[in-house]
């Protein structure tokens, strides 16, 4: 049976079937609540404050709730006694004044009824409407450190006022941006860029400590960021962090001049290392809200590219961790082993990093037979190479002694900060967005079988082991996918998108879970797009990991969460006893770690 493009496009004219799907506000509340475990208890507990409830798409439920009970509702889910790994993922603030005169603040909760079971787990959105002239809401950050940064973000970008926030400083906008101008509001154009004199606000130095500022420019690796360590002698007491040097205004540009297919390419360039994960999450969000089913072959190809990216990334990270410890041979070897993956991807997709394989509705390039053979050959090479490398690296005393028992993150702290990814799995949290939530509309993880490694110690060595185990699981997944790949089309054309619909797209990147929230507007444009990268949740937990350890351990601990921002350039030591000031450069600071010959 031959279907033409015209037939398929006609099929996707949007008809309002919202009441069938439970999406309309007039839907049957009882039927929705009985779909998943736990929804009814929440509804009973907060019945007077819930205005409406509906299902947005498969596995995502939304409650419209009063703003006064927001902290209680969020804490009700986050500290649920039975569903242990339920956590608040992030929150989004929208300016909906052109539509209904209100602002909206909506936390997302990822509910885990049973670990790694994608049919039972779901997402809950708690939508609170804030009046247009007084956008304030009670803050939950004092009891839930996971919400610290997100409330500062909506304060910076939209002008909301979280009351009783413990630390309401400027987080994201550059220091020379004037006060009172809020970029994400709908009355500001995306190109408008006012400049004033730069002002900086920092935390006060606590009693009895010296300040070690580590500035933004950095030798070699990741993005600029600014850490301020408060030290007493050699031991770190507290840390202040000022980052967001790479804030490029992506969310506003996506609403400004791009159509929904072009935003896909912008999403890929949010991060150069985990770009494809962002692309798949965005495509998943748009496909979910348009109710589109992509062909099976496209799902398999997407999963294949995701796993290839994970493999090359874990090898990259192992090299950098080895470099931080002073083991430069390990760095060179790890990057030598990783190179064939880049060559393979160059032949499959056309470029080594930003693959550009996705389009809303499927993928753009097919996997011909000779390319499949290439993939299998490379997987074999990587497996042998990594085995040899790990046998040597994990048995060197230098590496093990530097990594064991250092930078411990206890389970309770990991849960309170909503830490994600291998960092969380190394502290005992059993979460993995590939299997936890229903990703079957965009990727094929429900049809392959693999294990999720979880360790309990929470130190740097546990994080290394988690990542290496994941690498071998990824190699196994790739082999299964090539074996089982189905036939068929690779793309389904979508005509016009439905207006003012919203959905969430997510995948498990190598650092944690990536979440994209998309709300469409008129004429195939995007009304609100929110991106939350996993390092956003992991970084606030770094000060907890650094307290009590030596300054020389700091680079390794910061690198062990695999931050998409790293740090340090000129470290300034102010010794309180003698009053002398010494300026170290970035590499000299790293050298402290590399040449550390402390007490073993």
């Amino acid at each position: 049976m031959v279907t033409t493009t015209k037939d398929l496009e006609a099929h996707f004219e949007f008809e309002c079937r919202a009441c069938e799907n439970g999406r309309c506000a007039k839907a049957n509340v009882d039927a929705i609540l009985s779909e998943r475990e736990g929804l009814r208890d929440f509804y009973e507990a907060f019945k007077e404050h819930i205005a409406s409830c509906k299902r947005m798409t498969y596995g995502q439920y939304m409650f419209a709730i009063d703003r006064e009970v927001l902290p209680d509702a969020v804490l009700w889910w986050h500290n649920h006694p039975k569903y242990k790994e339920t956590h608040m993922s992030t929150a989004v603030g929208t300016d909906e004044r052109p539509l209904n005169g209100h602002f909206v603040y909506m936390p997302f909760i990822s509910v885990q009824v049973e670990p790694l079971n994608m049919d039972k787990n779901y997402w809950v959105f708690l939508r609170a409407y804030l009046p247009g002239d007084d956008p304030s809401f009670p803050s939950v950050a004092k009891n839930l450190p996971a919400a610290l940064w997100i409330e500062r973000e909506v304060k910076d970008l939209l002008g909301f006022k979280p009351t009783n926030h413990p630390d309401p400083k400027r987080l994201i906008l550059p220091e020379d941006f004037p006060d009172g101008v809020y970029p994400l509001r709908k009355d500001m154009d995306y190109r408008h860029s006012p400049i004033t004199e730069p002002t900086t606000e920092y935390r006060k130095t606590p009693e009895d400590t010296t300040l070690v500022p580590m500035g933004p420019a950095h030798m070699g690796i990741e993005e600029p960021a600014h850490f301020r360590l408060f030290v007493r002698g050699e031991e770190i007491v507290d840390v202040d962090y000022r980052g967001f040097y790479s804030h490029r205004g992506i969310e506003k540009t996506g609403e400004g001049r791009l159509t929904y297919n072009q935003v896909l390419f912008l999403a890929e360039r949010i991060c150069g290392i985990c770009g494809y994960q962002h692309s798949v999450s965005y495509a998943m969000a748009v496909e979910r809200l348009a109710d589109v089913e992509i062909p099976d072959r496209a799902r398999y190809i997407r999963t294949l590219m995701l796993e290839l990216e994970r493999i090359h990334n874990h090898l990259l990270w192992v090299g950098i961790a080895a470099h931080m410890v002073g083991y430069d041979t390990g760095f060179m070897h790890a990057w030598r082993i990783r190179e064939p993956v880049m060559w393979l991807v160059e032949r499959l997709t056309g470029n080594r990093k930003q693959y550009g394989m996705n389009i809303v509705g499927g993928v753009r390039r097919d996997l011909l037979d000779y390319r499949k053979e290439d993939v299998l050959k490379t997987v074999k090479q990587i497996r042998e190479g990594t085995q040899t490398f790990l046998d040597i690296a994990l048995n060197t005393n230098t590496f093990i002694k530097r990594a064991e028992g250092v930078g411990i993150l206890p389970y309770k702290v990991a849960k309170a900060y909503s830490v994600l990814g291998p960092t969380a799995r190394a502290s005992g949290r059993k979460i993995d967005a590939r299997l936890d939530q229903a990703t079957r509309t965009a990727t094929a993880y429900d049809e392959v079988d693999f294990k999720v490694p979880v360790y309990k110690e929470g130190d740097v060595l546990a994080r290394v082991l988690v990542r290496m185990d994941e690498l071998f699981e990824s190699l196994w997944i790739v082999e299964q996918l090539i074996d089982q790949m189905p036939d068929g089309d690779i793309m389904v054309p979508i005509g016009k998108l439905p207006e003012y619909e919203e959905a969430l797209g997510f995948t498990e990147a190598h650092r944690g879970e990536v979440v994209h929230y998309v709300m469409t507007g008129e004429k195939n444009k995007v009304y609100r797009w929110k991106v939350r990268a996993p390092t956003y949740n992991n970084l606030p937990a770094v000060p907890e990991m650094l307290k009590g350890y030596h300054v020389a351990d700091a680079p390794l601990i910061i690198a062990s969460i695999d931050p998409c921002y790293s740090c340090t350039e000129r470290v300034q030591f102010v010794d309180m006893n003698t009053g002398k000031i010494k300026v170290l450069t970035e590499a000299e600071f790293n050298e402290l770690s590399i040449k550390y010959r402390g007490v073993f």
């Binding site: 930003q354 550009g356 753009r364």
Partner: protein
Amino acid sequence: MAESVSYTEKLKKWNRYEAEKFSKKAPVTTPYPFIDIEKPPEYRGIPHINPEKCIGCGACVNVCPPDALIMEWDKEHGVKRLTYNAARCIRCARCIEVCPTGAMEPTTRFEVATDNKEDLVEVVEHKLAYCEECGEYLDFTERQIEYVRNILPKDVFDMYSLEDRITLTQEEKMRRTVVKLRETEGNVYPAFMLVKKKVEDDKGGEE
């Protein structure tokens, strides 16, 4: 099929310069830049606009995410220029995907570094069509009109008598329609279509 090698065989045979080094214990470093190498055939290099085939429709300009392709209009002289700048190109290949004539060609050129940004600019200039009646320039190029003539079947052309209307501005078309309606006065067929002559006066026409 007198050619011997199939499409995928040709692609399969391409091999990297360093590929054989994995088996021997030879130095792995590539000798580039002291020799000339090529990238794999699937590599996405700089696109090239073929001025023979380009019709100046602007489909590529609509899709380009970073605005590396921009259309400049010059209505006084009646030209429109399609400018491509490799300094902003992110090599997403969307322009290659949507070009209706195949003028945007994919290449594997990767040696693009330069010290002067003028070298990265490629411009194709098109002449706009002008209206026969009033002399104003239309928004289409003459090549676009020729291309459409090649696509639509001749019967449709004759039936709607498009041949004469195709080079008129919007105002001229509306003027002619009004004139024709006044002449035919409430006839059941659209005023501009050719109809089998039932009455002996001239109803066909230049609409």
